[in-house]
């Protein structure tokens, strides 16, 4: 088996208690490991601990119990902080609050500038990263005049410029319109496929999670379900119990099954679903 590039071992995290409130564990004994080149989606409804988990991956938060290792580096070790963050890039929800500069290319250059990379190499990385996210022609633009999806792709390019091997995305499409969501998800899928970057996608969109190779469903700070999209979505009852909705296609088949039709629950895309129904009707 390949070696795990991200490994969280029995991670427990409790937010500092607010006055008058009982502090509860946001993460409880979470053990997750991700291999190099994998595309993992972490699903969960609000408050399931999925964002808290993401913040552990590059030491924004440190575990109260257990440990997180990024490519063998312990996140609790302060001397490794910059090395860990370089290895594991993070993209957040709101693109507006991640962009630092007033010109697109200067923003993408921000991370390599901080790393002290030589100017010619920064230029090469900036051009390459903007090309990768399909924003090459916008490098002299002002970010505030771009659309949400474009801004988020700039933010991704800004993280890619560190040349990380892991990309953690904390609900990167939550503030985008459907077109922007599609742009960003296609970019992410391509990065994983073509550049072999390990992607950990935190989301609550089922259809985004369906693009991943593996899904981890979190509930109340614990890992509730784990498996390939097909395996996870076929467990419709459990998904519903975790206050999530399965993808519409699976949902349709599940309802038909409940009515007594003998249908498999494996259909992640509309086409697959149509095929399943067609095959069933022809029988």
């Amino acid at each position: 088996m390949e070696k795990a590039i991200v490994s969280a071992e029995n991670v427990t995290y409790t937010y500092p208690a607010e006055e008058g409130k009982q502090n509860h564990a946001a993460l409880h004994d979470v053990t997750i490991s991700v291999k190099q080149g994998e595309f993992v989606a972490v699903l969960g409804h609000n408050g399931s601990g999925k964002s808290t988990f993401a913040k552990h991956l590059n030491a924004i938060l440190l575990p109260s119990g257990g440990a997180v290792y990024i490519d063998g580096m312990d996140t609790r070790e302060e001397g490794l902080l910059l090395a860990i963050r370089e290895k594991c890039g993070m993209v957040f929800q709101n693109p507006d609050n991640q962009i630092v500069a007033t010109v697109v290319e200067e923003d993408v250059a921000f991370a390599p500038e901080n790393m002290g990379v030589a100017p010619e190499e920064i230029r090469r990385r900036v051009d390459a990263c903007l090309e990768t996210v399909g924003m090459g022609e916008y490098k002299r633009h002002a970010p505030h005049l771009l659309s949400g999806g474009q801004k988020q792709r700039i933010a991704i390019a800004g993280v890619l410029a560190m040349e990380p091997s892991i990309l953690v995305m904390d609900e990167p499409t939550a503030m985008l319109d459907p077109a922007g969501r599609r742009e960003v998800m296609q970019t992410v899928a391509r990065l994983n496929r073509e550049k072999g970057i390990t992607v950990i996608l935190i989301t609550h969109h089922m259809d985004e999670a369906a693009m991943a190779g593996r899904i981890i469903v979190m509930h109340e700070g614990e890992v509730a379900l784990e498996g390939t999209p097909r395996e996870v979505f076929a467990r419709v009852e459990e998904i519903r119990r975790l206050s999530l909705l399965p993808p519409q296609t699976v949902d349709l088949l599940w309802h038909l099954r409940a009515q007594g039709f003998d249908l498999p629950l494996e259909a992640l895309s509309v086409e697959e679903c149509a095929d399943v129904l067609e095959a069933f009707l022809k029988k």
Binding site: R85, F92, V100, T102, V103, E106, N114, P119, R123, A155
Partner: protein, 270 residues
């Protein structure tokens, strides 16, 4: 509507002035202002005026924009002019109640006004032809030696950059909040001054709350992109002084000397 404002009134272009190194431009403007204040002769002012007019011409910026930059200062100009006219002793040409208007006073007033107009026009030319980011960069580099005295030059430059970056974002947000308040019946355009000021409170409060939230998120995002202060930082576009930048500086130094001695030269030549 609010979205279209220009930042620092920069007009992109590709003239010689636009292409000069921002540090060279900044120093050149300082030299120009110095010569303006050293000069005390008609010929000196004439030289300054001609030079500035030439700059405006080659930058292809409409002279109207320069006039526009003077508009907010009209009151100060009038004030300076009147004070100079009234309080310069000398040969009285006009007497009115307790005021004496002297010949010297009129000359002084005209010179003062001309001086301020040229001063504003020159600095406007700097901001019209230099992007705010380039200016910030230039300031950071020029003030670099102060780092040795523990002046946080990099931090100031970073703050400037981020402020410039967030102006449009916050304006957009203000727009949204105002619309939301208007939709619920808020009235910003009528009533006394105090009423209007009060109506702004429900805009400022959410604006501040969101600005703090943004700042927090931005700080995290910057840390995730390895920001750890100015130490060991490199730049994508390093400022390089080209021969033409040195040329421009040498020219400005010569100009400065010329203006200082304009009176003497004129006396010899004429």
């Amino acid at each position: 509507m609010l979205k279209d404002i220009t930042l620092g009134q920069f007009f992109p272009g590709s003239s010689l002035l636009h292409r000069l190194d921002p540090r060279a431009k900044l120093v050149a403007v300082v030299l120009f202002v110095v010569s303006l204040f050293i000069s005390s002769s008609f010929w000196g002012y004439a030289l300054c005026f001609l030079f500035l007019a030439w700059c405006v011409h080659i930058s292809r910026i409409s002279p109207k924009m320069i006039l526009k930059s003077l508009r907010p200062l009209v009151i100060i100009l009038i004030f300076t002019g009147v004070l100079n006219m009234l309080y310069t002793p000398g040969e009285a040409i006009f007497h009115f109640w307790i005021f004496n208007i002297t010949k010297e006073g009129i000359f002084n007033a005209a010179f003062m006004i001309f001086r301020i107009v040229l001063l504003i026009a020159a600095t406007s030319m700097l901001t019209y032809t230099t992007s705010p980011i380039a200016l910030t960069d230039a300031l950071e580099r020029l003030l670099g030696p102060l780092k040795k005295l523990h002046v946080p030059v990099h931090e100031f430059a970073m703050m400037m950059t981020i402020a410039l970056r967030f102006i449009p974002t916050l304006i957009e947000e203000t727009d949204k909040i105002m619309s939301a308040q208007k939709a619920r019946g808020a009235d910003f355009d009528s009533g006394s001054l105090i009423d209007r000021a009060k109506a702004l409170v429900p805009i400022l409060v959410p604006l501040f709350v969101s600005a703090f939230r943004r700042a927090d998120e931005l700080a995290t995002a910057m840390e995730c992109r390895l920001y750890h202060g100015g130490e060991g930082r490199t730049r994508l576009n390093t400022l390089v002084m080209a021969p033409r930048d040195w040329g421009a500086l040498a020219f400005m130094a010569a100009f400065c000397l010329l203006v200082m001695n304009a009176q003497r030269i004129a006396a010899v030549v004429l």
